[in-house]
Symmetry: C2
Subunit: 204 residues, 2 copies
Protein backbone atom coordinates (compact mmCIF):
# COMPACT_ATOMS: atom_id res chain seq x y z
CA UNK A 1 0.00 0.00 0.00
CA UNK A 2 2.75 2.48 0.92
CA UNK A 3 6.43 2.39 0.15
CA UNK A 4 8.61 0.69 2.76
CA UNK A 5 10.26 3.13 5.15
CA UNK A 6 13.25 1.15 6.24
CA UNK A 7 15.00 4.02 7.97
CA UNK A 8 11.91 4.94 9.95
CA UNK A 9 11.15 1.35 10.91
CA UNK A 10 14.67 0.57 12.05
CA UNK A 11 15.47 4.06 13.37
CA UNK A 12 15.70 4.83 17.07
CA UNK A 13 12.34 6.61 17.54
CA UNK A 14 11.15 7.61 20.99
CA UNK A 15 11.39 5.04 23.76
CA UNK A 16 8.24 2.91 23.92
CA UNK A 17 6.99 3.42 20.39
CA UNK A 18 8.06 1.49 17.34
CA UNK A 19 5.91 1.79 14.22
CA UNK A 20 3.68 -1.13 15.27
CA UNK A 21 2.79 0.21 18.70
CA UNK A 22 2.35 3.73 17.28
CA UNK A 23 -0.06 2.29 14.70
CA UNK A 24 -1.94 0.33 17.32
CA UNK A 25 -2.65 3.49 19.37
CA UNK A 26 -3.48 5.53 16.25
CA UNK A 27 -6.06 2.97 15.12
CA UNK A 28 -7.64 2.97 18.58
CA UNK A 29 -7.99 6.77 18.46
CA UNK A 30 -9.28 6.72 14.85
CA UNK A 31 -11.99 4.24 15.90
CA UNK A 32 -12.95 6.33 18.94
CA UNK A 33 -12.94 9.82 17.41
CA UNK A 34 -13.23 9.04 13.71
CA UNK A 35 -10.30 9.36 11.30
CA UNK A 36 -11.42 12.79 10.03
CA UNK A 37 -11.91 14.03 13.58
CA UNK A 38 -8.41 13.04 14.76
CA UNK A 39 -5.63 15.61 14.34
CA UNK A 40 -1.92 14.76 14.46
CA UNK A 41 -1.84 17.05 17.48
CA UNK A 42 -4.48 14.98 19.30
CA UNK A 43 -2.65 11.81 18.32
CA UNK A 44 0.64 13.14 19.69
CA UNK A 45 -1.09 14.11 22.94
CA UNK A 46 -2.63 10.68 23.31
CA UNK A 47 0.74 9.04 22.67
CA UNK A 48 2.46 11.43 25.04
CA UNK A 49 5.05 12.31 22.40
CA UNK A 50 5.63 15.28 20.07
CA UNK A 51 4.23 15.48 16.54
CA UNK A 52 7.77 15.39 15.16
CA UNK A 53 8.29 12.03 16.90
CA UNK A 54 5.33 10.69 14.90
CA UNK A 55 6.76 12.18 11.69
CA UNK A 56 9.91 10.26 12.46
CA UNK A 57 7.91 7.09 11.70
CA UNK A 58 5.39 8.15 9.07
CA UNK A 59 4.81 10.99 6.62
CA UNK A 60 1.49 11.88 8.28
CA UNK A 61 -1.99 10.80 9.31
CA UNK A 62 -2.81 9.37 5.90
CA UNK A 63 0.15 6.99 5.99
CA UNK A 64 -1.05 5.71 9.37
CA UNK A 65 -4.48 5.09 7.84
CA UNK A 66 -2.90 3.40 4.83
CA UNK A 67 -0.80 1.10 7.02
CA UNK A 68 -3.77 0.26 9.25
CA UNK A 69 -6.12 -0.54 6.36
CA UNK A 70 -3.34 -2.52 4.67
CA UNK A 71 -2.97 -4.66 7.77
CA UNK A 72 -6.71 -5.53 7.77
CA UNK A 73 -6.77 -6.15 4.02
CA UNK A 74 -3.59 -8.25 4.03
CA UNK A 75 -5.13 -10.41 6.74
CA UNK A 76 -8.29 -10.98 4.70
CA UNK A 77 -6.53 -11.46 1.36
CA UNK A 78 -4.03 -13.79 3.03
CA UNK A 79 -6.96 -16.13 3.69
CA UNK A 80 -8.00 -16.19 0.02
CA UNK A 81 -4.69 -17.78 -1.04
CA UNK A 82 -4.64 -20.53 1.58
CA UNK A 83 -4.59 -24.09 0.24
CA UNK A 84 -8.07 -24.80 1.65
CA UNK A 85 -9.52 -21.89 -0.34
CA UNK A 86 -7.73 -22.70 -3.60
CA UNK A 87 -8.45 -26.44 -3.86
CA UNK A 88 -11.24 -28.88 -3.08
CA UNK A 89 -15.02 -28.61 -3.41
CA UNK A 90 -16.17 -25.00 -3.57
CA UNK A 91 -18.51 -25.28 -0.60
CA UNK A 92 -15.57 -26.38 1.55
CA UNK A 93 -13.39 -23.55 0.21
CA UNK A 94 -16.17 -21.08 1.02
CA UNK A 95 -16.67 -22.44 4.51
CA UNK A 96 -12.94 -22.26 5.17
CA UNK A 97 -12.84 -18.67 3.90
CA UNK A 98 -15.73 -17.68 6.17
CA UNK A 99 -14.25 -19.36 9.24
CA UNK A 100 -10.79 -17.90 8.66
CA UNK A 101 -12.24 -14.44 7.98
CA UNK A 102 -14.00 -14.57 11.35
CA UNK A 103 -10.60 -15.34 12.88
CA UNK A 104 -8.93 -12.40 11.08
CA UNK A 105 -11.72 -10.10 12.29
CA UNK A 106 -11.33 -11.26 15.87
CA UNK A 107 -7.52 -11.09 15.94
CA UNK A 108 -7.17 -7.84 13.95
CA UNK A 109 -10.35 -6.33 15.42
CA UNK A 110 -9.44 -2.60 15.54
CA UNK A 111 -7.87 -2.71 12.07
CA UNK A 112 -10.88 -4.41 10.46
CA UNK A 113 -13.26 -2.11 12.38
CA UNK A 114 -11.46 0.87 10.84
CA UNK A 115 -11.58 -0.74 7.38
CA UNK A 116 -15.35 -1.27 7.62
CA UNK A 117 -15.91 2.41 8.44
CA UNK A 118 -14.03 3.71 5.42
CA UNK A 119 -16.34 5.78 3.20
CA UNK A 120 -14.01 6.79 0.34
CA UNK A 121 -13.07 10.34 1.35
CA UNK A 122 -9.49 10.14 0.04
CA UNK A 123 -7.35 8.20 -2.44
CA UNK A 124 -6.18 5.88 0.36
CA UNK A 125 -9.78 5.18 1.38
CA UNK A 126 -10.92 4.64 -2.20
CA UNK A 127 -8.09 2.16 -2.76
CA UNK A 128 -9.19 0.28 0.37
CA UNK A 129 -12.82 0.24 -0.85
CA UNK A 130 -11.66 -1.12 -4.21
CA UNK A 131 -9.82 -3.95 -2.43
CA UNK A 132 -12.91 -4.67 -0.32
CA UNK A 133 -14.93 -5.00 -3.53
CA UNK A 134 -12.24 -7.32 -4.91
CA UNK A 135 -12.58 -9.48 -1.79
CA UNK A 136 -16.39 -9.52 -2.18
CA UNK A 137 -15.97 -10.66 -5.77
CA UNK A 138 -13.76 -13.56 -4.67
CA UNK A 139 -16.49 -14.60 -2.21
CA UNK A 140 -19.22 -14.27 -4.85
CA UNK A 141 -17.21 -16.40 -7.29
CA UNK A 142 -16.83 -19.14 -4.65
CA UNK A 143 -20.59 -19.02 -3.94
CA UNK A 144 -21.40 -19.21 -7.66
CA UNK A 145 -19.07 -22.19 -8.12
CA UNK A 146 -20.53 -23.97 -5.06
CA UNK A 147 -24.04 -23.51 -6.50
CA UNK A 148 -22.83 -24.91 -9.83
CA UNK A 149 -21.38 -27.95 -8.04
CA UNK A 150 -24.85 -28.49 -6.57
CA UNK A 151 -23.78 -28.00 -2.95
CA UNK A 152 -25.45 -24.62 -2.31
CA UNK A 153 -29.10 -23.69 -2.80
CA UNK A 154 -29.57 -22.10 -6.23
CA UNK A 155 -32.58 -19.92 -5.36
CA UNK A 156 -30.68 -16.97 -3.86
CA UNK A 157 -28.50 -14.68 -5.98
CA UNK A 158 -24.80 -15.49 -5.22
CA UNK A 159 -23.94 -11.78 -4.83
CA UNK A 160 -26.75 -11.45 -2.27
CA UNK A 161 -25.53 -14.54 -0.40
CA UNK A 162 -22.04 -13.10 -0.33
CA UNK A 163 -23.27 -9.73 0.98
CA UNK A 164 -25.49 -11.20 3.69
CA UNK A 165 -22.91 -13.75 4.77
CA UNK A 166 -20.19 -11.14 5.17
CA UNK A 167 -22.74 -8.74 6.63
CA UNK A 168 -23.06 -11.27 9.44
CA UNK A 169 -19.29 -11.80 9.67
CA UNK A 170 -18.51 -8.07 9.67
CA UNK A 171 -21.18 -7.34 12.30
CA UNK A 172 -18.92 -9.14 14.76
CA UNK A 173 -16.76 -6.00 14.94
CA UNK A 174 -19.75 -4.19 16.49
CA UNK A 175 -19.75 -6.17 19.72
CA UNK A 176 -16.96 -8.76 19.89
CA UNK A 177 -14.36 -8.34 22.63
CA UNK A 178 -11.41 -10.72 22.79
CA UNK A 179 -11.13 -12.37 26.21
CA UNK A 180 -14.94 -12.19 26.54
CA UNK A 181 -17.30 -15.15 26.93
CA UNK A 182 -17.18 -16.25 23.29
CA UNK A 183 -14.04 -17.82 21.86
CA UNK A 184 -13.01 -17.26 18.24
CA UNK A 185 -13.72 -20.93 17.50
CA UNK A 186 -17.25 -20.68 18.94
CA UNK A 187 -17.80 -17.60 16.83
CA UNK A 188 -16.55 -19.24 13.63
CA UNK A 189 -18.64 -22.36 14.37
CA UNK A 190 -21.76 -20.27 15.01
CA UNK A 191 -21.43 -18.32 11.74
CA UNK A 192 -20.65 -21.45 9.70
CA UNK A 193 -23.48 -23.50 11.26
CA UNK A 194 -26.05 -20.73 10.88
CA UNK A 195 -25.28 -19.88 7.28
CA UNK A 196 -24.44 -23.32 5.87
CA UNK A 197 -26.67 -25.63 7.90
CA UNK A 198 -29.32 -23.27 9.28
CA UNK A 199 -30.77 -23.07 12.75
CA UNK A 200 -33.83 -25.25 12.16
CA UNK A 201 -33.59 -28.73 13.64
CA UNK A 202 -36.16 -30.38 11.38
CA UNK A 203 -36.86 -30.16 7.67
CA UNK A 204 -40.23 -28.55 7.01
CA UNK B 1 -39.72 9.71 22.61
CA UNK B 2 -40.48 13.45 22.60
CA UNK B 3 -43.65 15.25 23.53
CA UNK B 4 -46.10 15.91 20.70
CA UNK B 5 -45.79 19.40 19.25
CA UNK B 6 -49.27 19.88 17.88
CA UNK B 7 -48.84 23.53 17.12
CA UNK B 8 -45.60 22.96 15.24
CA UNK B 9 -47.01 20.03 13.28
CA UNK B 10 -50.19 21.82 12.28
CA UNK B 11 -48.65 25.29 12.09
CA UNK B 12 -48.03 27.05 8.81
CA UNK B 13 -44.21 26.64 8.58
CA UNK B 14 -42.38 27.59 5.42
CA UNK B 15 -43.81 26.43 2.12
CA UNK B 16 -42.54 22.97 1.16
CA UNK B 17 -41.56 21.76 4.63
CA UNK B 18 -43.81 20.15 7.17
CA UNK B 19 -42.16 18.34 10.08
CA UNK B 20 -42.00 15.03 8.15
CA UNK B 21 -40.21 16.41 5.10
CA UNK B 22 -37.90 18.48 7.32
CA UNK B 23 -37.02 15.32 9.25
CA UNK B 24 -36.44 13.37 6.08
CA UNK B 25 -33.84 15.89 4.84
CA UNK B 26 -32.23 16.21 8.28
CA UNK B 27 -31.75 12.43 8.53
CA UNK B 28 -30.20 12.36 5.07
CA UNK B 29 -27.70 15.06 6.10
CA UNK B 30 -26.97 13.35 9.46
CA UNK B 31 -26.18 10.12 7.60
CA UNK B 32 -23.92 11.91 5.12
CA UNK B 33 -21.99 14.22 7.46
CA UNK B 34 -22.54 12.54 10.82
CA UNK B 35 -24.91 13.92 13.45
CA UNK B 36 -22.09 15.56 15.44
CA UNK B 37 -20.68 17.12 12.29
CA UNK B 38 -23.97 18.72 11.21
CA UNK B 39 -24.74 22.22 12.48
CA UNK B 40 -28.21 23.78 12.46
CA UNK B 41 -26.67 26.36 10.11
CA UNK B 42 -25.60 23.65 7.63
CA UNK B 43 -29.03 22.03 7.93
CA UNK B 44 -30.79 25.34 7.20
CA UNK B 45 -28.54 25.89 4.17
CA UNK B 46 -29.29 22.43 2.83
CA UNK B 47 -33.02 22.98 3.32
CA UNK B 48 -32.80 26.44 1.77
CA UNK B 49 -34.60 27.98 4.75
CA UNK B 50 -33.51 30.00 7.78
CA UNK B 51 -32.57 28.48 11.12
CA UNK B 52 -35.61 30.12 12.72
CA UNK B 53 -37.85 28.27 10.24
CA UNK B 54 -36.41 25.02 11.59
CA UNK B 55 -36.96 26.20 15.18
CA UNK B 56 -40.57 26.75 14.20
CA UNK B 57 -40.89 22.95 13.98
CA UNK B 58 -38.44 21.63 16.59
CA UNK B 59 -36.51 22.87 19.60
CA UNK B 60 -33.18 22.01 17.98
CA UNK B 61 -30.93 19.40 16.41
CA UNK B 62 -31.39 16.97 19.28
CA UNK B 63 -35.17 16.88 18.83
CA UNK B 64 -34.66 16.05 15.16
CA UNK B 65 -32.39 13.18 16.21
CA UNK B 66 -34.91 12.05 18.82
CA UNK B 67 -37.77 12.05 16.29
CA UNK B 68 -35.67 10.22 13.69
CA UNK B 69 -34.50 7.51 16.10
CA UNK B 70 -38.04 7.21 17.46
CA UNK B 71 -39.33 6.54 13.97
CA UNK B 72 -36.85 3.69 13.44
CA UNK B 73 -37.48 2.23 16.90
CA UNK B 74 -41.26 2.49 16.63
CA UNK B 75 -41.05 0.60 13.34
CA UNK B 76 -39.03 -2.20 14.91
CA UNK B 77 -41.02 -2.38 18.16
CA UNK B 78 -44.26 -2.29 16.18
CA UNK B 79 -43.22 -5.65 14.71
CA UNK B 80 -42.73 -7.22 18.14
CA UNK B 81 -46.40 -6.76 19.04
CA UNK B 82 -47.84 -8.19 15.82
CA UNK B 83 -50.08 -11.23 16.24
CA UNK B 84 -47.61 -13.48 14.41
CA UNK B 85 -44.88 -12.58 16.94
CA UNK B 86 -47.06 -12.97 20.02
CA UNK B 87 -48.70 -16.33 19.28
CA UNK B 88 -47.83 -19.65 17.70
CA UNK B 89 -44.65 -21.75 17.77
CA UNK B 90 -41.64 -19.70 18.73
CA UNK B 91 -39.66 -20.53 15.61
CA UNK B 92 -42.50 -19.11 13.49
CA UNK B 93 -42.70 -16.00 15.68
CA UNK B 94 -38.95 -15.52 15.28
CA UNK B 95 -39.05 -16.00 11.52
CA UNK B 96 -41.90 -13.50 11.25
CA UNK B 97 -39.97 -11.00 13.38
CA UNK B 98 -36.87 -11.37 11.21
CA UNK B 99 -38.78 -11.01 7.93
CA UNK B 100 -40.76 -8.00 9.15
CA UNK B 101 -37.61 -6.36 10.56
CA UNK B 102 -36.00 -6.66 7.12
CA UNK B 103 -39.05 -4.88 5.74
CA UNK B 104 -38.82 -2.09 8.34
CA UNK B 105 -35.13 -1.65 7.51
CA UNK B 106 -35.82 -1.42 3.81
CA UNK B 107 -38.78 0.97 4.10
CA UNK B 108 -37.31 3.16 6.87
CA UNK B 109 -33.75 2.83 5.55
CA UNK B 110 -32.27 6.27 6.44
CA UNK B 111 -33.89 6.23 9.90
CA UNK B 112 -32.61 2.76 10.78
CA UNK B 113 -29.19 3.61 9.30
CA UNK B 114 -28.99 6.57 11.68
CA UNK B 115 -30.14 4.39 14.60
CA UNK B 116 -27.41 1.83 13.92
CA UNK B 117 -24.72 4.54 14.01
CA UNK B 118 -25.71 5.89 17.41
CA UNK B 119 -22.82 5.58 19.87
CA UNK B 120 -24.35 7.01 23.06
CA UNK B 121 -22.91 10.54 23.05
CA UNK B 122 -26.03 12.16 24.57
CA UNK B 123 -29.10 11.31 26.65
CA UNK B 124 -31.19 10.91 23.48
CA UNK B 125 -28.62 8.51 22.02
CA UNK B 126 -28.30 6.53 25.23
CA UNK B 127 -32.09 6.14 25.40
CA UNK B 128 -32.05 4.84 21.82
CA UNK B 129 -29.25 2.39 22.69
CA UNK B 130 -31.27 1.17 25.69
CA UNK B 131 -34.26 0.51 23.42
CA UNK B 132 -32.03 -1.33 20.94
CA UNK B 133 -30.85 -3.57 23.79
CA UNK B 134 -34.50 -4.12 24.77
CA UNK B 135 -35.24 -5.20 21.19
CA UNK B 136 -32.22 -7.56 21.23
CA UNK B 137 -33.54 -9.10 24.45
CA UNK B 138 -36.93 -9.75 22.85
CA UNK B 139 -35.15 -11.54 19.99
CA UNK B 140 -32.98 -13.55 22.40
CA UNK B 141 -36.06 -14.63 24.37
CA UNK B 142 -37.74 -15.86 21.18
CA UNK B 143 -34.59 -17.78 20.21
CA UNK B 144 -34.36 -19.35 23.69
CA UNK B 145 -38.03 -20.39 23.58
CA UNK B 146 -37.65 -21.84 20.07
CA UNK B 147 -34.68 -23.91 21.27
CA UNK B 148 -36.76 -25.10 24.23
CA UNK B 149 -39.56 -26.13 21.86
CA UNK B 150 -36.96 -28.23 20.03
CA UNK B 151 -37.23 -26.32 16.75
CA UNK B 152 -33.86 -24.54 16.84
CA UNK B 153 -30.42 -26.10 17.25
CA UNK B 154 -29.38 -26.02 20.90
CA UNK B 155 -25.61 -25.90 20.35
CA UNK B 156 -25.27 -22.13 19.82
CA UNK B 157 -25.85 -19.61 22.60
CA UNK B 158 -29.22 -17.86 21.99
CA UNK B 159 -27.71 -14.41 22.60
CA UNK B 160 -25.04 -15.18 19.99
CA UNK B 161 -27.69 -16.37 17.51
CA UNK B 162 -29.65 -13.17 18.09
CA UNK B 163 -26.55 -10.99 17.57
CA UNK B 164 -25.41 -12.74 14.40
CA UNK B 165 -28.91 -12.92 12.93
CA UNK B 166 -29.52 -9.20 13.42
CA UNK B 167 -25.93 -8.50 12.41
CA UNK B 168 -26.93 -9.94 9.03
CA UNK B 169 -30.25 -8.07 9.00
CA UNK B 170 -28.69 -4.73 10.00
CA UNK B 171 -25.90 -5.08 7.42
CA UNK B 172 -28.57 -4.53 4.78
CA UNK B 173 -28.43 -0.79 5.58
CA UNK B 174 -24.84 -0.77 4.27
CA UNK B 175 -25.72 -1.48 0.67
CA UNK B 176 -29.49 -1.80 0.09
CA UNK B 177 -31.10 0.74 -2.23
CA UNK B 178 -34.89 0.70 -2.73
CA UNK B 179 -35.80 0.44 -6.42
CA UNK B 180 -32.59 -1.56 -7.01
CA UNK B 181 -32.37 -5.13 -8.31
CA UNK B 182 -33.43 -6.82 -5.09
CA UNK B 183 -37.01 -6.54 -3.82
CA UNK B 184 -37.80 -6.42 -0.12
CA UNK B 185 -39.45 -9.86 -0.38
CA UNK B 186 -36.34 -11.37 -1.99
CA UNK B 187 -34.26 -9.84 0.76
CA UNK B 188 -36.49 -11.19 3.55
CA UNK B 189 -36.59 -14.62 1.89
CA UNK B 190 -32.80 -14.69 1.53
CA UNK B 191 -32.20 -13.81 5.18
CA UNK B 192 -34.83 -16.27 6.44
CA UNK B 193 -33.63 -19.13 4.21
CA UNK B 194 -29.98 -18.61 5.05
CA UNK B 195 -30.39 -18.41 8.80
CA UNK B 196 -33.21 -20.92 9.36
CA UNK B 197 -32.60 -23.48 6.64
CA UNK B 198 -28.98 -22.87 5.69
CA UNK B 199 -27.38 -22.70 2.27
CA UNK B 200 -26.27 -26.32 2.05
CA UNK B 201 -28.39 -28.51 -0.24
CA UNK B 202 -27.48 -31.84 1.33
CA UNK B 203 -27.09 -32.99 4.91
CA UNK B 204 -23.51 -33.92 5.69
Amino acid sequence: MSSPRTTARSGPGRPGYDLDSLLSVAVKVFNEKGYEGTSMEALAQRLGITKSSIYHHVSGKEELLDLALGRALNGLFGVTTELEVTSGRYIDRLEHLVRRSVRVLATELPYVTLLLRVRGNSAVERRALARRREFDEIVTRLVTAAVEEGDLRPDIDPALISRLMFGMVNSITEWYRPRGDTSVDQLADAVAHMTFDGLRTRVR
